[in-house]
Amino acid sequence: MNPQAGFDRRAMAQRVARDIPEGWVVNLGIGLPTQICDLVSADREVIFHSENGILGMGPQPTPDQVDPWLVNAGKQAVTLRPGASLFHHADSFTMIRGGHLDLCVLGAFEVASNGDLANWTTDSNDKTPAVGGAMDLAVGARRLWVLMEHVTKKGQPRLVERCALPLTAPGVVKRVYTNLAVLEVIDRKFKVLDLAPGVTLKEVQNLTAAPVVS
C-alpha cells in the first residue's frame, strides 16, 4: 500500500466530525476522539458532553482562556459555549446510562464483527487495569462509533471476528472510523461506507480479520 494513502489522525477525527448532524448530544472518549470537539464549527449546534459534568463544551482554550477549574474527561482544559451547563457525576451518568446521548465516540483496542468492543485493558499483568466511564458509555449511548487505527503498531488487525481482549461491552459498536475506511458493523460483517484517499477495498480486506463487504 502507498505509504501516503489513508487518513492521518486529524483527518480521521475530521471524517467523524463531518458525519455528526446538528442537534446531536455527543460524548467523546479520551485520546483522539477528544479532537472532534475542535473540528465541528461553532455555528453547527452539536452539544458535547463530558462525563465529569459538562454539557456544551466549546473548542480548546487559548492560553489566556485557560480556567484551571474546567477540564474534560482527559483532564485537559476546555471552554464552555453559550448554553452550557454543569452538573455532578450521578446526573452525568444518568444522561449516559439513561439513553439521553445521541452518540458516543470511543477509541478501542479491538472491535469484532458482532459489535463487541474491547477498549479498557490489554490484560498484561504489569499494567494497572482502569475502566473509567467506557462501560457505561458503551451500553448507554444510543449509538456507539469507534475511532481507531486500522491495525496495531505491530501491524495486527484490530477489526476481528472475535475480540481476544476482555470486553468493554458486547454487541454495541455501530460504526468504525479508521485511517483506512469508514465501516458499518452489520450482519457479523464490516460493510465499507467510505474508503480513505488512495486506499482500495482489497487492502482493507487484507488488513481486517473478519469479512469485509462493500
Binding site: 459534568g53 483532564k75 454543569l86 450521578a90 473509567g132 466511564g133 462501560m135 457505561d136 476482555p166
Partner: protein, 220 residues
C-alpha cells in the same frame, strides 16, 4: 446558632479512626480536596479504604501521599492510571484494588446516600466486571446487581460554603463531591470562600447544608 465552620485542619479531621472508609471527591485535580487529604496524612489514621475516581498522580500531595505513607489498605476506584505511588504498591500486592465502572461508582454512592441498598445496571454485563454478580433480566435485557456504597468519612471540595454548610461549586468541580457529601457518616468540606449566611442565593445552593458536618477554608 449553627456553625459548622472550623478554623483549622486538626479540628476538621478530628476523630477519623484507623480502618475508616474514606470517600475523596474530585475528577483529576479539579474538585479534589487535597488540603483535607494532606491533613489526613498528618492526622495519621491508617488501614484506610479510599473511595475515589482516580488514584492521584503527583506523589507529593493528596491520595498518593497516603499511599507512600502506607496508610491505605484498599482503593475503590474507576481509573487508577498515571499514579506512580499506586503502581508501586499494586505491583507488589501491597494494596487491594476494587475496580468499578465510573457510572456504577457514581450510582453506588448516590444510592448509598439515598438509602437504596442495591440496584440493577446494564453496565458491565458480558464483561469481566460481571464475575460473581447476580444477573437479572428485565424486559428481555440483562442487568447486574450492584450495591450502594457508604463511608465513614467523605472529604469533599466546594467553592463557597456558609456556616450552615450550604455549598456552591465552580466549573467542573462538582463531579463526585455533591454525591459523596450524602453518603458518609461524617462529611467534611474544604471551601475557598466563607460567605455570610444568606449570601448564597438559595437558587444556587447545590449541596444543602444538611449533608455537611464540618467546613474548613483552604489555606494556600
Amino acid at each position: 446558632m449553627i456553625d459548622k465552620r472550623v478554623d483549622n485542619l486538626q479540628a476538621a479531621l478530628a476523630g477519623i479512626r484507623d480502618g475508616s472508609v474514606v470517600m475523596v471527591g474530585g475528577f483529576g485535580a479539579v474538585g479534589q480536596p487535597d488540603f483535607l487529604v494532606n491533613g489526613l496524612a498528618e492526622q495519621g489514621a491508617r488501614d484506610l479504604t479510599i473511595v475515589a475516581n482516580n488514584a492521584g498522580w503527583n506523589r507529593e500531595t493528596g491520595i498518593p501521599r497516603l499511599f507512600d505513607l502506607g496508610r491505605v489498605r484498599k482503593i475503590v476506584c474507576s481509573f487508577p492510571k498515571n499514579s506512580p505511588a499506586f503502581d508501586d504498591l499494586f505491583r507488589v500486592g501491597r494494596i487491594e484494588l476494587e475496580i468499578v465502572p465510573q457510572g456504577t461508582l457514581a450510582e453506588r454512592i448516590r444510592a448509598g446516600g439515598a438509602g437504596i441498598p442495591a440496584f440493577y445496571t446494564p453496565t458491565g454485563v458480558g464483561t469481566p466486571m460481571a464475575a460473581g454478580k447476580e444477573v437479572r433480566t428485565f424486559n428481555g435485557k440483562d442487568y447486574l446487581l450492584e450495591h450502594g456504597l457508604r463511608a465513614d468519612v467523605a472529604l469533599i471540595e466546594a467553592w463557597r460554603g456558609d456556616r450552615w454548610g450550604n455549598l456552591s461549586y465552580r466549573g467542573s468541580g462538582r463531579n463526585f463531591n455533591p454525591i459523596m457529601a450524602t453518603a458518609a457518616q461524617l462529611t467534611i468540606a474544604q471551601v475557598h470562600e466563607f460567605p455570610e449566611l444568606g449570601e448564597l442565593e438559595p437558587d444556587n445552593v447545590v449541596t444543602p447544608g444538611i449533608f455537611i458536618h464540618r467546613i474548613v477554608k483552604v489555606v494556600p
